[in-house]
């Protein structure tokens, strides 16, 4: 069973979903515990502040250099992949991407597609499209498998089932996996998943994966993982289809080691992942295993919009480590599902508006205290807080011609804008400010004693009966 597709307006119901998590002590404990764990693991990997800072600077430089040359690198990547025997497809929208992937499946009369962890496949809702086409799509990353079995979506881009306790997973397995008795022993649970999925790897007609880095100069697709399911998906079935956003390209092979180091150390606090899988072609004549066909689908889905603006382009530097969510005080309290988007947390707030339009995501950027933790830990130095401020500006400014983003001004309210204009005028002019404070102290009795959520736990806010200015004047 698959989760329901993501709604068109993720911001609708955001408050209710957040409140449900904040009110649930078990979920809060799950996220708090998991985030503390991931933060301390990351910190242990970067004992030397100078090394971390210089490596982040290098990572940022590599990503910016490669983004600046993106159009030519995509062409170079396509040429080298084609030379290596990998077929390259281009998709502007999720629908186009699904059509390409399911077309490949149909050409091979595929009944079962096994999937390695791919957030881009979540982004395009591939599992739904496959189901509708009568093709089974089975998640094989343990976390993704658990989440799919529960009919849910990942709540974290690196650890999809982070919101679930082992007892919940034990109950889920006992209910959903035939012939399994209840056990909450983690090793036993993993072995259950291993056995089920090994049978599926044997049967599968198509393997699907994401891509962490695509290397243009050699025509190579790189995948980072710990479990081995990614290698299974890319090696065992006769056909391998990889899907990636167009931004994940580096020109040089030598760009990979620093990014890999930043990725695994920032994401899970590992000095390297168990597997780093570099694929440069299908099975060659004489080779005894590996897929006989390899495809790459390059997806736009709003990335070209971010690309066109110098500031917003920095969003595309992301290497999807998830450190920003691990360190985010908002994510830690409300979890990944509350956001209602494929990518939650700080990165979700800055990338989703390009994918879904600001009409659907206008208030996402306001779910932040702008504390700056996300920008501070980002391994490629994306200025996430600055981008959040920029997105607020794009959402709430009056609609204008040639906007940088689809849905610009979607959150615009003439009343709110007028109030802030008045506020700004008062604070700019000393005489207006004097008048306003004088009025405030005279008419303080007009201030309501019920001030919404504020007064549920605090005394109402009222202007003081006497202004500081007057008190100082008295003292001489």
């Amino acid at each position: 069973m698959n989760a329901q597709p993501i709604h068109f307006k993720p911001t609708e119901g955001f408050r209710a979903r957040s409140k449900a998590v904040v009110d649930n002590p078990f979920l809060r404990q799950s996220f708090r515990g998991a985030m503390d764990f991931l933060m301390s693991k990351r910190a242990a990997q970067f004992p030397d502040a100078e090394e971390l800072e210089s490596l982040r600077t290098l990572g940022e430089r590599i990503r910016q250099y490669n983004l600046a040359r993106l159009p030519e690198l995509l062409v170079q990547l396509e040429a080298n992949l084609t030379k290596n025997g990998i077929a390259v497809h281009w998709a502007e929208t999720p629908d186009e991407a699904n059509e390409i992937i399911l077309g490949i499946c149909k050409r091979h009369s595929a009944k079962l597609m096994v999937k390695g962890k791919s957030m881009v496949s979540e982004e395009i809702e591939l599992n739904h499209a496959a189901e509708a086409a009568g093709i089974g799509a089975l998640e094989s990353d343990m976390g993704e498998y658990i989440v799919q079995l529960a009919g849910e979506k990942p709540s974290h881009i690196i650890m999809p089932a982070i919101h679930k306790t082992k007892e919940e997973i034990a109950r889920l397995f006992a209910d959903k996996v035939p012939g399994v008795d209840y056990t909450d022993n983690v090793d036993a649970l993993i072995q259950i998943g291993r056995n089920v999925l090994r049978r599926k790897f044997l049967e599968a007609d198509v393997g699907l994966s994401g891509v962490n880095f695509a290397v243009a100069e050699t025509g190579t697709l790189c995948l980072v993982e710990n479990e081995g399911n990614g290698r299974m998906c890319t090696t065992t079935p006769p056909v391998h289809v990889a899907i990636t956003g167009i931004e994940k390209i580096v020109e040089k092979l030598e760009h990979v080691p620093p990014l890999l180091s930043l990725l695994t150390r920032s994401a899970t606090g590992q000095n390297i992942s168990t597997y780093f899988n570099m694929i440069s072609g299908p099975r060659k004549p004489g080779e005894k295993d590996g897929p006989t066909e390899v495809h790459l689908v390059l997806l736009d889905n709003g990335r070209t919009q971010a690309y066109a603006d110098e500031q917003l382009r920095k969003t595309l530097q992301c290497i999807r480590c998830g450190a920003c969510m691990n360190h985010c005080p908002v994510y830690t309290r409300i979890g990944g599902h509350a956001y209602g988007t494929t990518y939650p947390g700080p990165i979700g707030k800055i990338i989703s508006p390009h994918m879904l339009g600001l009409e659907a995501t206008a208030t996402m950027a306001t779910a932040s205290s702008l504390c700056g933790a996300c920008g501070e830990v980002c391994p490629v130095k994306i200025p996430i807080p600055d981008l959040l401020v920029r997105l607020r500006e794009e959402s709430f400014s009056a609609p204008h011609a040639n906007p940088a983003m689809r849905g610009q001004g979607a959150g615009y309210s003439s009343l709110v804008t007028a109030i802030w204009r008045g506020w700004a005028a008062v604070y700019r002019s000393p005489s207006l400010y004097r008048l306003a404070t004088w009025l405030g102290s005279r008419f303080r009795w007009l201030v309501p004693s019920d001030q919404g959520p504020w007064t549920t736990v605090r005394v109402p806010l009222k202007p003081a009966p006497r202004r500081l200015r007057d008190m100082l004047k008295e003292r001489g």
Partner: protein, 222 residues
Amino acid sequence: MSARDRILAKLKAGAPSTAGDLPDVAGWYATHRTAESRADKTKRFRHCIELAHAEVHPVARSGWMQKLHEVLASRQIGALLVAPGSVHGARALAELPALGIDCRGYVQAIESWKPAMFNDTPAALTAARAAIAETGTLILWPDADEPRLMSLVPPLHVVLLDAANIYNTFHEAIELEGWKAGLPTNALLISGPSKTADIQQTLAYGAHGPKELVVLLMGDEQ
């Protein structure tokens, strides 16, 4: 216009006028990573990969077969998959049957024996092309003789590594071996047995790949 042309046109229209200089990756490694002696590299490699739950046995260049047999015997494993076209695989095929190990060669394409590979192959022996000290990582370039699945499907993976082939960093391996001149269909970095922490951040080994990784480290006799 195709999707390809439209995407490229949009990107070209939005691209900055200059990309700036190529990032100085080599410079960063030169100032932030030291080139260690062979003994220190070996020590670091071993320390890191053991932290990731692999087992390392230093062996003499001539004596690895004995250790391999011990590794299998201690686990009551009676069968081993090897690459008959490799020197070490041929040697295993010649010597292990006499020691009571059912030694099988990977000779047929996987299609003809996939179920046996998955259900009836408890262990495999492969070589590592090289290793990386910084992260405790084995580098494998599977080929026609020693295919990809040998290091993935059997629950026990035994790897022969020559200590002379340990690099300081991944970057050094790529540069000194000239990888950009041509990569195999599949190049692999392996840094321990398969694992997951997807259930309540509890580490469990043997998620989908090998449950155990044993390294026979040649040339590090003590």
